[in-house]
Symmetry: C2
Subunit: 325 residues, 2 copies
Amino acid sequence: MEDIARAAGVSPMTVSNAFQQPAKVRAETRERIYAAADALGYVPNRVAGNLASGRSRFVGAIVPSLRNSNFAGMVQGLQERLEALGHELLLANADTAERQVGAARVFLGRRVSGLVLTGTEHPPGLGAMLRAARLPVVETFSVDGPFIDMAVGFSNYAASRALMALVIEQGYQHVGFAGYAPRDMRFRERQRGFQDALAEAGLRNDLLFFGPETLGFSGGRHALDHLLGIEPRLQALVCVTDIFAVGALFECQRKGWSVPGRFAVVGYGDYEIAAEVPPGLTTVQTRARIIGATAADLLVARGEQRAVPDPIRDIGYQIVRRGSL
Amino acid sequence: MEDIARAAGVSPMTVSNAFQQPAKVRAETRERIYAAADALGYVPNRVAGNLASGRSRFVGAIVPSLRNSNFAGMVQGLQERLEALGHELLLANADTAERQVGAARVFLGRRVSGLVLTGTEHPPGLGAMLRAARLPVVETFSVDGPFIDMAVGFSNYAASRALMALVIEQGYQHVGFAGYAPRDMRFRERQRGFQDALAEAGLRNDLLFFGPETLGFSGGRHALDHLLGIEPRLQALVCVTDIFAVGALFECQRKGWSVPGRFAVVGYGDYEIAAEVPPGLTTVQTRARIIGATAADLLVARGEQRAVPDPIRDIGYQIVRRGSL
DNA sequence: CTGAAAGCGCTTACAG
DNA sequence: CTGAAAGCGCTTACAG
């Protein structure tokens, strides 16, 4: 900055103003400064800026996986909105509980102005750490607290019930559930919706499979094999994720089973593949992009000390009916 | 830091040493400091630290998409290796050329110690900007320069030739190519391998389809439709990505075509789905994780002013043979 | 509209 | 093994 101040024949102060508060600098001076900055390939040092101002205008998002998820949609929503609001977005990948804490520490150390967390099940101590730092935090894809701070999502229970209403209405009697072993609140609520719906319909509701969260498409295959071993009359599989559901569809194809004639499958998430895989996957659309945009709004509002009237935002879901049930 | 110095009855300096160079502080003093830090929920301010030391020990990676890619594998490799080397990793998502430049500016502004770029086609000016900043940069998934600085990948041309050798050996005569319109060097090399191989075998090599890069699974469907319109005898489709290939497989299923009897498909990337989709996708495994780990090594070495003997690393590829051809 | 002074929370290089 | 001084590159609050 010193260099460009010299080149433009002004003080460093004026250079800073030209970038931060252009209105305070005469147009002519401003142009001279911009020209000098360009010529020198100057990129303002945000590290120094953040330290001096105590603000960072940058939010962090911790995503549990980059693979097979609709976190991509959330990230897109976050990014678009933050960009519009003049903030930056940086991501950290955290596939284990330890890495999740590590990522939070990284962001805290760099003094982010806000943090987005995915899901609601976090390692012990994470919430306390974040609260102690008084950092604005948004948890996503759920409205079932308790939350560390704010949340944007939808009712996983309600969505699950809506999906099950369809399954039951179609007359399926022997229905299985394919879930994850490390169940966070989102997955538990989906399972609860599954079990309550079947119980209320007077149907068996204990055909459950829980695989490790590292399982991708193969989870659907394992679930199907496992549940078929318990109940050979199994007619339908409700999956905690579209990825599991597509895996199950693949397994049906291998067995030569027609879908939904011989067997029905439903998923969760409405990933791109849900619309492409034959015969189309019936699933729950989670509006990931809106979740991201809303999270951005909450974080920025909080960062500017504005009151956030409704810190738990339910943005709903939608059932998407396709060929698989 | 001031606070914890007071609480532990030492100077701030000693606190800093306890965290940065534990060996320089007596064990007893150190314990006192750690206890105080814990009690106060102290998270060292890296912003101040970076500014003071001029080092950041943090690398940035710009990924073009979070969806359907094996960048996830690269990120995993990067993360594991950087963690071991005591560095932090932060990601930026950039799905357009402008966002790519924006992300680079964000990282530059925060004075990263190194940058990982995906692919080799970048907006004009990006290379100049990065070079002007004298920032260590690694481009990935290719060894076909020119590069901004360093690179880790494999020969897309060689991989494509190896795959085509298989296709031709199986006797397929009418073979199409499904690629991306915004072709960066990686995709161009794959296409060149495709065309050269067919030409050398005396076969037609102009059955090409190029879709926008936003196309996911549906790209395979579009490619198939388009090329079939040009050449109804089409027997096989070579895809620039497993995602396209799976989309093509879905389309075959919809048409009731047997694979590879009636139609053959090959992909690129060996994503998880390649092994799961029936009848298994023949593809090129790109060793994304090793690419990430190697990129981390290069960046850290360069950051520590160590000489990097071979800044363009070819880590090879592998053809994975499955049921689709 | 422009600028001199102080300070953000650390680290560096050095002295004790 | 411990600490007082200077400085990293900005911004803030103020004066001119």
